[in-house]
Amino acid sequence: MNAHRSIALAATLAASLSVAAMHAASAQEAEAPSREHWSFHGPFGTYDTGQLQRGFKVYREACSTCHGLKLLAFRNLSDPGGPSFTEPQAVTIASGFQVTDGPNDKGEMFQRPGKIADRFPPPFPNDQAARAALGGGLPPDMSVLAKARGYEAGFPWFIFDAFTQYQEDGPDYIHAILVGYEDPPAGVTLPPGAQYNKFFPGHAIAMPKPLSDGQVEYTDGTPATVDQYGKDVAAFLMWAAEPKLDERKRLGFQVFVFLIVLTGLLYFTKKRVWHDVKHHPELIESRPPPEYPKS
């Protein structure tokens, strides 16, 4: 009734505003990225194997000199639900990286080609080495970058996002950064060493523009443009952050069907159990009232 409706309204507002708040809290003043179409969006979304392989190629050729993927292992490249390289291909990829091993019998650490069980080696031995080599900037490891970045959608879009299952703000952001390099508008001065990026919070990004058209060769006919590279590597990084997405959504569908069936049965069970109480209260063998202390 009125009270219930008010309460329901209040509860919905509460939940949505509080969550709105969460998303608003990560607000930075940069322009919001455009929402791309991702193959892995939505309840039946899955990764596109071809896109992930292209994305890996972009990572390998354009990003891996500075950005690590230390939480990923080479064997993950041949796992189901990912780029799905064959095991021999994954072994070959692994051997292309130098991995630190040791100590040997002389007590020294040494470099050797990667094996399939190894994790991706970091491009720099530590943060200080990275900063020293790159003039002060620290390229973040990208293992979970697609989940560590996002942007505020604002009211009321974040409410719709819960229904449309929008979880791709990370890849949208990454793609936007990669295509967002442009000349600074008139009157804007950048700190030394920084470049202007339309979508980076504060607009001054330390990373030099990493991609140009034609830089990475695609052998499957996909256009070799910065926009495409951005999408492919963003999709790859989403897989790197969330390798179980395909399995999660598949299991989710099964769980949903099961829960709908079970909840439906429970609903009819409840109705049947309560039938006589509601419609033939005179037949009920009621419980005697409990002997509570009188207030």
Partner: protein
């Protein structure tokens, strides 16, 4: 409770039975990941992949210890005397009968590769000790010969043989057996 009219017992019972059955399926399905999460995870399984050992640094008579799947593996470069003594033993009378030929690979009799865990209660036996040119386990006194067979003491079985194959005359890969028609 409620007095139920006798008119529709079968429909009511079917509903309750169906609900209970679906609920039981759900409970079992919920249990599956809870139990499965204790099985070895992907990185553990990957770390248990075969390891290669280069045999060329081993002198005759030398025993080294490698690790495979967190288990110690003894690799024994047997001398001709070790081989002779192992072959001469009356293997049929042993507690765990096995001829020396069953303990090594054909054409590579000088190499003995066994799991270095005593089959009694799991200690690691000490090499080149005991009365049988093999190993002596200090925990309870088991003694193994130069083919890793139990000769004395409480252990019930010979030192186990891990799966392994020769990828060349001087290199073995522990954790993999050669394909049957190799």
């Amino acid at each position: 409770m409620t007095t139920i009219s006798a008119a529709e017992p079968s429909r009511r019972d079917f509903l309750y039975i169906a609900t209970a059955a679906v609920g039981a399926v759900g409970a079992a399905a919920t249990l599956a990941p809870l139990i499965g999460q204790m099985s070895p995870d992907a990185s553990t399984i990957a770390a248990g992949a075969p390891v290669e050992v280069d045999l060329s640094p081993l002198a005759e008579g030398q025993i080294v210890q490698a690790f495979w799947r967190s288990q110690p593996i003894f690799i024994f470069h047997r001398t001709k005397q070790d081989i002779a003594r192992a072959q001469a033993a009356d293997w049929r009378t042993l507690r765990d009968p096995a001829p020396d030929s069953a303990r090594v690979k054909a054409g590579h009799e000088q190499w003995l590769v066994v799991v270095g865990i005593c089959t009694h209660l799991g200690c690691i036996p000490l090499p080149h000790q005991g009365n049988f040119d093999g190993w002596f386990c200090p925990c309870h006194g088991s003694q193994y010969d130069s083919a890793g067979r139990i000769r004395q003491g409480p252990a019930p079985l010979n030192l186990p043989l891990p799966p392994y194959q020769f990828v060349s005359d001087t290199k073995i890969r522990i954790g993999e057996t050669a394909p049957a028609n190799a």
